[in-house]
Subunit: 225 residues, 2 copies
């Protein structure tokens, strides 16, 4: 994940600097542009791994900018995350889903910003070296050793429990229904009653505590975060 370049496009210098500071702290390289036109120029030249794009900008706004990105053969696959002021009525964000891969509302919590960036990058990562170590809250989930570490203690979960936890944690925040979990953890053409998931969730909670996996009744389960 390190060594990736992120282009930040925003007309407010303060925000540009703030984001730059936080991303550099995380090990990203950061490029800056104060409007859409310059953003496109820089993107074409440096091919960033991800673009953070403010929606409200003078001249060329974020929506126009992303359209240009999506039309450019070399840039079209670059993930774009929008920045937007919450309760910003003028920008019809509903319709913008077409070109963006996520969006984040200002004011920005920097931890949230970084974790969203990482999540989006993971989705787009070509090199696809599988991630074998997840850190979530106070858990360290190590798939190489099939071990979960928490507060200096090591927990040895059985395979299914471990893989379920790992998968949930790798989609942190997203609600996954039982069928999706079965398909991804158990395998596509395995036939198991879907309530089996419940029992495994319970065992995980028993061992690690019940504040990691949340139940969304009627929908599925979600790793907190």
């Amino acid at each position: 994940m390190a060594n990736k370049t992120i282009l930040v496009v925003d007309d407010e210098q303060d925000i540009l600097d703030l984001i730059e500071y936080n991303l550099k702290k995380e090990g990203f390289k950061v490029l800056k542009a104060e409007n859409g036109e310059k953003g496109i120029e820089i993107a074409k030249e440096y091919k960033p791994d991800l673009v953070l794009l403010d929606i409200m900008m003078p001249k060329m706004d974020g929506l126009e900018t992303v359209e240009l990105i999506r039309k450019d053969e070399e840039l079209k696959r670059t993930p774009v995350i929008f920045l937007t002021a919450r309760s910003d009525e003028k920008t019809e964000i509903e319709s913008l889903n077409k070109g963006g891969d996520d969006f984040i509302t200002k004011p920005i919590s920097t931890t949230k910003l970084v974790s969203r960036i990482k999540a989006v990058m993971r989705r787009f990562d070509d090199s696809s070296e599988p991630v074998n170590k997840l850190i979530a809250h106070d858990l360290e989930i190590d798939k190489d050793r099939y071990v979960v570490e928490k507060g200096g203690k090591e927990f040895q979960l059985p395979r299914k429990e471990f893989e379920l936890l790992f998968f949930l944690a790798s989609r942190k925040g997203k609600v996954l229904d039982r069928q999706a979990l079965l398909n991804k953890v158990w395998g596509d053409n395995i036939y198991v009653v879907d309530r089996t998931v419940d029992v495994h969730v319970r065992k995980i909670r028993e061992k690690l505590g019940d504040h990691y996996i949340e139940t969304v009744k009627g929908v599925g389960y979600r790793f907190k975060g």
Copy 2:
């Protein structure tokens, strides 16, 4: 990306073997069929993650085959890449219109083949689904997480309430009558008294405040905006 199954349909055994060899080297599982009919059969049985389809084949050609795939409820979402010797534009356009997702001309560079396959799969991978998030006024309604955020606070609505809110917000400004809401949120052939909607609206208002959903007396409800 590994562990995916690819069905290759081509009438030339040499090409079948060549592609199989290269895809297996990349870690894909490979199924083979020497004509469209068999291809469909195998696809129905094994549900491959992607189909490589030669356009020029005796009996049923690739275009017919993809039409059948697109009509089959279980297969219609399977990505299809066409193979063809012809490099003329008409065929290309026609095939993409008929439901292909990409197009590769023979002779095939195997690295190109693999990278195209990966690209198409990435487009279809469910992790890169569009973002299910709405912003309306000061609400952030996130269907991935089944959470509503307002002023930094997260609200966990029960399923029906959430889905009702989401649906109303996704049609911001439009008045929807109770029956329409029931059909869209509850489902077409579910029988519940239409006043049930009222109760859910009330609960949403209780939790988030009553200035989001407006009542249009004698007609239905409308998300403000």
